[in-house]
């Protein structure tokens, strides 16, 4: 059962980051995660031509978003022609309502899910559970987090912050069996346990990595095989897709499908790419009888034509997270949003509004180092988008800051006033400094000295 954690009511972002910085286990897990991702990326660049593939990928996504209405129309027309049902959901509520109504109409009791950030975004699990359905996350990492009552930490690898002993404890509690700590036994248990749910589920819910407009095919990429079973066994398959996740044809799809695992996991292939073109055909003996494609807008198409349009190019590979020094320090859960890391800091305010608690805070959890832009396979200038979004944030805190900024600008655009301020500061540093250092500054400046000493001479005396 998912224990709901409502981000909006949770502790503010700063508190979550403080907690994360102090969590040694988390920091160690994140360090090893970052190291292996970096090694994988180096390999893809050196041996598999990763850099050469990026320019074309950027062009493909730019073109996809330019033609988005036309591509979505074509995708919808093809899915219907294949026997599927398409529902265009304007927002989260519409999307969950559709799935709920479908589940009720079909008398469904058990829903098996494969990993989908879009379903996290619309809080589908909570809605289904409130309506009395049982929802099982079948991706191993997500299932582990479901047992632990936590939110996923990352797009690609949800449970990187838990170690094997913590996982074994969860499985023992769930099963009542005395399971050993070793990985193989734990995975074998999960396989056995979740097969019960694959066999019994009434509805399988998956995400969609890419929709291919030309044939109306939905691509679901994975390594474990649970999406295979979720999209093949239950009678009904519901696929939830972000409206921006569409390419025109198979040449574009081949390129992006090749690039995705290279960017995400430093490998030239993920284990499975499931390509769903409608429900089962006449004569076929497996596959769902019904396919429902829910296309989630949720604020996406409104970004077209704005200075934030490039955020729609994202293929949700997760590379920006792994490359981000902030994410590498605090992990994904601290962000408190379905989307974490640099892309999360950009699209959370764009989709939820810049005044929402996390929408207004996340864009500032960044040193603007640009590693994300460097890592992004489709070249999204996330560091630039973050600065633009900061300008658009409007909360009481930010409005107070704006008043301070006005005073700053009024002073610093005038050389005489500016130079007077410089003299005052230099005097203050000399007065407050002891042996060339200040260890505690007064007032709001105290936040600097909460972490560092401030040198009052240069070069600094060590």
């Amino acid at each position: 059962m998912t224990i709901p954690v409502t981000y909006d009511d949770g502790p503010p972002l700063r508190a979550r980051t403080q907690e994360a910085v102090a969590d040694d286990q988390l920091r160690a897990n994140l360090r090893s995660t970052a190291a292996s991702w970096t090694a994988g990326r180096e390999k893809m660049r050196a041996e598999f031509g990763f850099d050469e593939m990026r320019d074309r990928a950027r062009e493909i996504r730019r073109d996809n978003i330019r033609r988005l209405p036309e591509l979505l129309d074509r995708l919808e027309e093809r899915v219907r022609a294949n026997g599927g049902v398409v529902y265009r959901a304007a927002d989260r509520d519409a999307a969950t309502r559709y799935v709920l109504d479908l589940a009720r109409a079909r008398g469904a009791r058990l829903v098996a899910k494969s990993k989908s950030m879009a379903t996290e975004e619309i809080k589908l699990n909570e809605a289904l559970e409130e309506a009395g359905l049982r929802v099982v996350e079948t991706d191993l990492g997500e299932w582990i987090l479901q047992l632990a009552g936590q939110r996923p930490s990352h797009i690609i690898a949800p449970a990187v912050h838990l170690n094997r002993t913590q996982v074994a404890e969860l499985f023992r509690a769930e099963s009542g069996e005395d399971l050993p700590d070793d990985r193989e036994a734990l995975v074998a248990y999960a396989r056995r346990r979740l097969r019960e749910d694959f066999a019994a589920a009434d509805i399988g819910v998956s995400g969609v990595n890419l929709g291919v407009a030309d044939t109306g095919t939905l691509c679901v990429m994975e390594n474990e095989g649970n999406a295979r079973l979720v999209t093949a066994l239950p009678r009904i398959h519901v696929a939830v897709m972000g409206a921006e996740r569409v390419v025109a044809d198979w040449d574009e799809a081949a390129h992006i499908l090749q690039l995705l695992p290279m960017a995400a996991i430093g490998d030239d292939a993920s284990t499975y790419v499931n390509l769903v073109t409608g429900p089962r055909r006449d004569g076929e003996t497996d596959g769902p009888e019904e396919l429902h494609l829910v296309i989630l807008d949720g604020g996406r198409t409104a970004l077209r034509g704005t200075e934030f349009e490039e955020a729609l190019h994202c293929i949700r590979c997760g590379a920006c997270l792994y490359s981000c020094p902030m994410w590498r320090t605090v992990g994904g859960q601290a962000y408190g949003s379905p989307y974490s890391g640099p892309i999360g800091a950009v699209i959370t305010p764009l989709l939820e509004g810049t005044s929402s608690p996390r929408g207004s805070e996340l864009p500032f959890l960044s040193s603007l180092c640009g590693a994300c832009h460097e890592a992004c396979p489709v070249g999204i200038p996330l560091h630039d988008l973050l600065v633009r979004i900061r300008g658009a944030v409007s909360t009481p805190v930010h409005r107070r800051e704006r008043r301070g900024a006005r005073i700053w600008a009024a002073a610093w655009r005038r050389p005489l006033v500016y130079r007077a301020g410089v003299r005052l500061t230099r005097l203050g540093l000399r007065v407050l400094g002891r042996d060339g250092w200040i260890t505690k500054l007064p007032g709001p400046a105290g936040r600097w000295t909460s972490q560092r000493d401030l040198p009052t001479r240069w070069p600094p005396t060590p």
């Binding site: 949800p158 449970a159 094997r164 066999a199 030309d214 292939a269 499975y272 499931n274 769903v276 055909r281």
Partner: protein
Amino acid sequence: MAADPLTDRFIGALARRRATGEAVAGADCADACVAQLREWGAQRALVPDDLWLAELRVPETMAAAGFDVVMWPSDRGWRELLGLDHAPPTCAVTVPVRAVAERGTLVIASSPTHGRSLDAVGWWHLAVLADDRIDGTLAEALRATYPPGAAAASGVSLVSGPSRTSDVEKITTYGAHGALAEHVVVVRSSRSG
């Protein structure tokens, strides 16, 4: 028989996918399959009712060797096919429609005689692949799988090795929800003769 470069590249790429493979003449295919079943310790083989597979005598040779051969489509329930309720350890046999040499990827497509999820339901995955179905690149294989104007198979999977997860401590473990291991028997056609 002259070696086929695409076949060699494909089998070489399988190593990267943590799968194994071999190229055999048609007459030796059935025995190669049986040998693999024995190596894995399978007791049951789940086999698609495929004409070419029958011509190669794969199902009958397996049965003769003492394996419990279950043909697909089967009326046994999902619980048994998935290996629950103490079903015997099962190897799923597939007949891929295409393959990708540069990545070691198999293209499995659904049809009335071939389940879309065949390779994932068993413990092990044994693929019998005609060498003239091997393409060089993913783009080529996808174009061949989705020719313009033709109706596409409703369930296609690009399978690149056994099922894996690194969700426990970022260390790769196999046999998550799909096959624990994969072996491909590439059957040489007259193309490479």
